[in-house]
Symmetry: C2
């Protein structure tokens, strides 16, 4: 069931996914990639967003810091590749992360209602004794217009709270998404197509 | 975990999914809809494609026939709603269904390589003593350029054979899809967003 070269190679390599997201884990497992999960302890809220020229720079730097934290903790001798990622929702150039409480989730979903936004994921591929290689992928999402009742009913399911922008396209949030332009998996949290291209550039020793 | 009105209502209604597709079943279950599966015995290859002005007419008629077959077999007294669907891949106005053997799968994937195509799903909602209500949804898919080796490796996984156009975006076929324009779930086989809008028009007795 393994098709693309990296998935086959990954079985013989020590690949670490530096993310605790069950969705990222599922996306990579689904295409036959072998890895262990070692969630980064880097505090993703510690970077000052205002210091970055663009959201794309912010997510790439966040993913870089996540990978470097895992590398320094486990040691360079104990991995062949670390994969890390950071996903945000961008509306009018402003970054929406995970809502902390119902009122914040309501405000986020209200601001997304009836409009188009972007989901941006930064990914870092880190190999021992090499500089981290980072890239980003952006996908447009067209949200339908939501009533306050729909927003409240959605918040009551508790789905918004661990998700950038306060919704999950892979479950009940699907009802809000008229359509996307780009890679669906990027909206879920990991740009699988672009990753498959970037990871093939790696030459294993 | 139920949010939208139809999902809540479905628990008290006798809803039949007239499709044996495990993907359609998963999409509907994932958003909390209650139903039983009763696969249509209508032969979806029996309609003459050349008699339809457009692929959209063809998939709607196929879905209509699937729903009517189940209705006549189970009887009108035994259901409140039948949901049926038919999905095809359309390239240059030509319909691609499921490949029957490796050579056909190879030719299909080769024709899709490096190009854009459409995935079109027809859906019928059938209630007792009412005319069937049908609609369709179309999604653009941008395929990356594939080498013959990549196509052969993919065919060797056996993934192409039960899928319209010979690929599945929800598993290894994801590596071939640069991006989409529209509803991801429609590419998997069921237009969830559009369905959620259409099904809300139904007034239960």
């Amino acid at each position: 069931e393994v098709m693309f070269a990296f998935a086959a190679q990954s079985a013989a390599r020590r690949v670490i996914l530096a993310s605790g997201s069950p969705r990222r884990k599922e996306i990579l497992q689904n295409v036959g990639i072998s890895f262990v999960v070692n969630s980064s302890k880097f505090d993703e809220t510690s970077l000052d967003k205002s210091k970055f020229a663009a959201p794309t720079d912010f997510v790439m730097e966040n993913s870089r810091q996540k990978a470097l934290e895992v590398a320094s903790r486990v040691g360079e001798a104990s991995f062949d590749l670390i994969i890390s990622a950071d996903t945000v929702v961008v509306l009018d150039g402003k970054i929406l992360e995970k809502p902390a409480h119902p009122a914040e989730a309501f405000a986020m979903l209200k601001s997304l209602s009836g409009r188009q936004h972007n989901v941006v994921t930064g990914v870092t591929l880190l190999r021992p004794a090499s500089p981290p290689a980072s890239f980003f992928e952006s996908t447009d999402v067209v949200f339908t217009a939501l009533s306050d009742d729909e927003i409240s009913a959605y918040i009551a399911t508790n789905e918004p709270f661990d998700k950038a922008g306060g919704y999950g396209i892979q479950s009940l949030g699907a009802f809000f998404v008229q359509g996307i332009v780009g890679d669906y998996y990027n909206v879920v949290g990991f740009p699988l197509f672009r990753f498959s291209r970037e990871v093939q550039k790696i030459v294993w020793e």
